[in-house]
């Protein structure tokens, strides 16, 4: 329980936030709004899962937003211009993304370079490549696309559980199992906890690092597919800045940026909190552009501050402080 405290705190904060929204805007309480929250943040939720792995392993991946952008452009081009069947295109792009991530991971590992910068270069590269492919936005009209985009579990009240939302939920569950239930997951934690020790404990640090960045890029690719479903198009400027949202989601969800500690479910709630803040602001609708930004910042602060206070109280309540943990 003690270890889950940040996730519980985050979840409590989210639920309270939702309650406040519901009290402010009666329309908010609908199932539709709840499902929209899932659909609209599906692509963010998927990359954030990958980001959680990377951050826990002590790294960071700034390239994911650009990889999403690249994916959408690539898909639009090969499906619309080259006539590739969408499913084949999905497989191709996932392979490309995985290779891209593996490349970044290898550079980080074998040249001993900081992930922040390597993935920043990756961010430039992926975005640059998508500009080269096309600077125009390209609609995707393939049959499967409109089918997938339309397909949804219809719930009462006009609410729909869409394909993107389902993919995100599956990713979150899969990610949680992978991180918290497998050897690979334990290695990820070990790498973030003590990189030097991990090698001495016999973990293949190189292979794990490459795999982690591969996973992150792969999920960014999946997120790109979801994004292209969501918008039925490919556009080189899509998903700019998503990496920061994903990092924020992970950190709000209790993941330590210094590595070694975190939860996939926490990240999921972090994504929902960010979505909630945005929905609140657009429901309000009276805020000018700048007040909206200020409000976003303040709400972010309120959530983090509240979470910090909750954790602090939880820590107070604990009797014996464990010796040797960071003070």
């Amino acid at each position: 329980m003690k270890r889950l405290a940040p996730v519980l705190a985050t979840t409590a904060v989210f639920l309270i936030g939702y309650l406040v929204c519901t009290l402010t805007f009666p329309n908010f309480a609908s199932l539709r709004v709840a499902m929209n929250l899932l659909t609209d943040n599906a692509f963010l939720g998927i990359v954030a899962v990958g980001m959680t792995f990377v951050i826990i392993s002590g790294g960071i991946d700034l390239s994911v937003g650009s990889v999403i952008g690249f994916t959408t452009v690539f898909l639009a081009l090969v499906i619309e211009r080259a006539g590739m069947p969408p499913l084949l295109a999905f497989v191709a792009i996932l392979a490309i993304c995985a290779a891209f991530g593996a490349l970044m991971g290898s550079v980080i590992q074998y040249f001993d370079l900081p992930p922040f910068i390597v993935t920043l270069a990756g961010m430039f590269l992926a975005r640059g490549l998508s500009f080269l492919l096309s600077t125009e936005s390209i609609p995707i009209n393939a049959g499967l696309y409109s089918h997938l985009a339309d397909y949804a579990l219809r719930l009462p009240g006009g609410a729909r559980l869409t394909v993107p939302a389902m993919i995100m939920l599956a990713t979150v569950i899969g990610g949680a199992l992978l991180l918290h239930g497998t050897r690979f997951g334990a290695n990820v934690f070990a790498l973030g906890g003590a990189r030097g020790s991990a090698a001495l404990m016999g973990i293949n640090v190189g292979r794990s690092t490459v795999l982690i960045y591969m996973l992150s890029s792969l999920l960014a690719g999946l997120s790109g597919i979801v994004f292209s479903l969501y918008t039925s198009s490919g556009y080189s400027l899509s998903a700019v800045g998503v990496e920061l949202d994903a990092i924020a989601a992970a950190v709000i969800g209790g993941t330590l940026l210094s590595g070694g500690y975190g939860f996939v479910l926490g990240t999921f709630v972090g994504v929902l909190i960010q979505g909630l803040i945005q929905t609140y602001i657009s429901f309000d609708g009276s805020l000018s552009s700048w007040w909206a930004k200020i409000a976003t910042g303040l709400l972010l602060f309120a959530f983090i501050g509240f979470q910090q206070a909750t954790l602090h109280m939880a820590r107070r309540g604990r009797l014996r402080p464990a010796a040797g943990v960071a003070s």
């Binding site: 709004v33 929209n36 692509f43 609609p139 985009a149 918008t231 039925s232 899509s238 657009s282 552009s289």
Partner: protein
């Protein structure tokens, strides 16, 4: 009547955009319309979220200033299912979505570029003219279109050609920086005959760069840009700028009228309400235009 309109605005990336928001608000107030503005900070996903939440709030109409032309089908379909009319402002979307909105109040950005290009061709006559171009943000549809339009405008004049083209990200600072290096790369600016900028802000920066390099903008080097923001008229009045093509910030006014007519009388508006792309030059009393525009929130 008490109409509520949700407006998914792109963001506040430029002075022109801020003016559009201000004008929309005052136009709404004039008509006693309750306007909800959601700022998307240049992101399509935020615009989609905003539209979804407008649908969830069951507004009477949705205005959309689309950041990009594609990718609106799904969400506009949702609006259609909820029987909420959608009006596009400022920019159009991909033709495949034609039946998903009521009408589009837009200018034609290809046309804008073309007007600027034709003006330049007319002004230089048969003299050879090397043009440097300050592009908007790479990938932005307005930038692509204004480039296309300008190229079409100068297509008939082989003496006019673009020698350098870089992005200035629609900002003054980048416009100035890029112009500085253009001047250096083109022998101190001696071989540049004209600058074409995809918006006025970049041109204002470029004018400063030219002045700092000891050149006389408007005389040594001609300028043509688009938007018609107040500051370019100030430069024009000082003889430092030559031409700008107006993009009116009042897109919402006609849109409100169309919606009111549609809601009260059932009048279906035309599919495209095009705004004027008026060319302003030094002959148009720039000082007066400046005075009339500076209160508009640019």
């Amino acid at each position: 009547q008490d109409l509520t309109v949700g407006f998914s605005q792109i963001g506040s990336e430029s002075g022109w955009r801020a003016a559009e928001t201000t004008v929309s608000k005052s136009e709404a107030a004039k008509r006693k319309i309750n306007l909800k503005i959601a700022d998307a900070q240049q992101k399509q996903e935020n615009q989609i979220k905003a539209i979804r939440s407008f649908v969830a709030q069951n507004v009477d109409a949705i205005f959309l200033a689309p950041v990009v032309s594609t990718g609106w089908e799904a969400v506009l379909k949702e609006a259609k299912e909820a029987k909420i009319p959608v009006v596009l402002l400022d920019r159009d979307i991909d033709p495949s979505g034609k039946d998903l909105y009521l009408t589009a109040v837009t200018s034609d950005s290809v046309h804008e570029g073309k007007v600027a290009g034709e003006w330049l061709v007319k002004t230089v006559g048969t003299k050879p003219c090397n043009v440097v171009e300050l592009q908007g943000t790479v990938g932005a549809s307005v930038a692509t279109n204004r480039k296309k339009g300008f190229e079409a405008g100068i297509a008939g004049a082989p003496n006019v050609k673009i020698v350098r083209s870089q992005t200035g990200d629609f900002t003054r600072a980048k416009g100035k920086e890029v112009m500085e290096s253009f001047i250096k790369a083109e022998g101190g600016g001696a071989s540049i005959c004209a600058v074409y900028a995809h918006n006025d802000d970049m041109m204002v920066g470029a004018i400063q760069a030219m002045k700092e390099a000891g050149l006389k903008p408007g005389k040594d080097i001609l300028t043509a840009s688009i938007d018609a923001v107040p500051d370019i008229f100030k430069a024009m009045a000082a003889g430092e700028a030559n031409a700008t093509v107006e993009l009116t910030p009042n897109m919402a006014g006609p849109a409100f009228d169309a919606i009111i007519a549609y809601k009260t009388k059932g009048t279906v508006p035309p599919k495209w309400i095009q705004t004027e792309s008026k060319l302003y030059t030094a002959a148009d009393n720039p000082q007066a235009v400046y005075d009339s525009k500076k209160g508009l929130g640019y």
